[in-house]
Point group: none
Chain length 224, copies 2
DNA sequence: GACACCTTTGACGCGTTCTTGACGGCCGAT
DNA sequence: ATCGGCCGTCAAGAACGCGTCAAAGGTGTC
């Protein structure tokens, strides 16, 4: 989840930003003045900062410089002042973008996307741990005791359905539908075949599975 | 010297931008329409693109997408249209900033500084090492045991997609989409053909690839 | 107009994966 | 205790996907 720090002393604007950003999947922290902003930034280490100039306690450039001292996160400045000199000062202090109020919320979100797009796809990918095995669904990579395990396409699809429903029971019908297609309803032998292969590759003791469980007569379940 | 590509069909604006940017130490190339822009970008490999929308031959988004396939260089869009929808479209197509005309030249320069500041010291020379081979994506240069290796445009695009997702599996569909276009879904023979060429040029033993790996039935993966 | 280079297309052999069928064991129901 | 259903396992043939070679378009250059 991308973390955004919103700095604004006007509660309504801060609230509106929080709601809109949260609705689009960002994790939002807010601060009402410069001192709070710097403290919050140190605490949450945001991936992006939306900064309103004209804070009660500090000058905008000071806040930017305070952040830039240790963070490379993009800073998107909001301001009521449209004068070019203000914009130039903020940008040269280290801001990445400058939007004048009143602003269109859609445009702001687009600028947030543009800013996070650059620094975004750097590192993080969600890995699921299954005992001694780690599964990276995005990279399509499985490691068991450090070295990689190869899965066939069908094995991947089956594992993915189970892993995306952690702890939940997935019926045989649903598994067959999502992996083989809607025309497959009763081919439970496929499931037996591939579940056995997955256990052989992922479980410490394939005969006594701990994470890939059978619910007789119903379906299968992945237990983290 | 930082290289800037200015794309504008109005000669006066292009001239004004060239003069101002040159005066501030940038190396400026100009193009008057979309086709010229894409060709010039391929030739000079700019560090930043200033792009006027409303070109005579192509839609703005097309130009942006055409550039984004090649390069990560910041794109600063100029436009006479102030509508939010236009801005959002351009930013989501891959632009980094959007300035409406008439613009203040000082502000534009500040935005140029802000954009180049990010990409400048951060990813200065993204040279990737593949065993005895080094790949410099920005400079479009490949060296194997010191000598230069020539890649065709298609080979470059394919290699770039893979290198930008180190360790991650890239599906056949995504590769086809990003290199040949969204209408290509099942032409896996293209991939086989060009992967073989890349391996012949980059791998020590093309028959036993170590870095450009095949995941049967799914896609390809670059392992650093 | 000839040439060189790149892209597109077709075909073949081979290894891997998928599909299919059959068998035995465990468990609950009769 | 017996039976039937369900699951795990094993072992085939069939089908698919990949690497490779070869050759036909296509485009720009000299």
């Amino acid at each position: 989840m991308i973390k955004v720090l919103v700095v604004d002393d006007e509660p309504q604007i801060a609230r509106a930003l929080r709601i809109n950003l949260s609705a689009h999947g960002y994790e939002v922290t807010t601060a009402a003045d410069g001192a709070q902003a710097l403290r919050a930034a140190a605490a949450v280490v945001p991936d992006l900062v939306v900064l309103d100039l004209g804070l009660p306690d500090m000058d905008g450039s000071e806040v930017i410089e305070g952040l830039r001292g240790w963070s490379k996160a993009p800073i998107l400045v909001l301001s009521g002042r449209a004068a070019s000199a203000e914009k130039i000062a903020a940008l040269d202090a280290g801001a990445d973008d400058y939007v004048t109020k009143p602003f269109d919320i859609g445009e702001l979100l687009a600028r947030v996307r543009a800013a996070t797009r650059r620094s975004g796809p750097g590192s993080d990918s969600p890995v699921t741990a299954i005992g001694p095995v780690t599964v990276d669904l995005a990279a399509r990579e499985v490691r068991k005791d450090g070295d990689e395990v190869r899965l066939t396409p069908t094995e991947w699809q089956l594992l993915e359905v189970l892993l995306r429903n952690p702890g939940k029971l997935v019926s045989q019908r649903e598994l067959l539908h999502r992996v083989w297609g809607p025309n497959y309803d009763r081919e439970t032998n496929y499931l037996r075949q591939y579940m056995a292969q997955l256990r052989r590759k992922l479980e410490a003791d394939p005969a006594r599975p701990v994470h890939l469980l059978t619910e007789p007569g119903m379906g299968y379940r992945f237990r983290p």
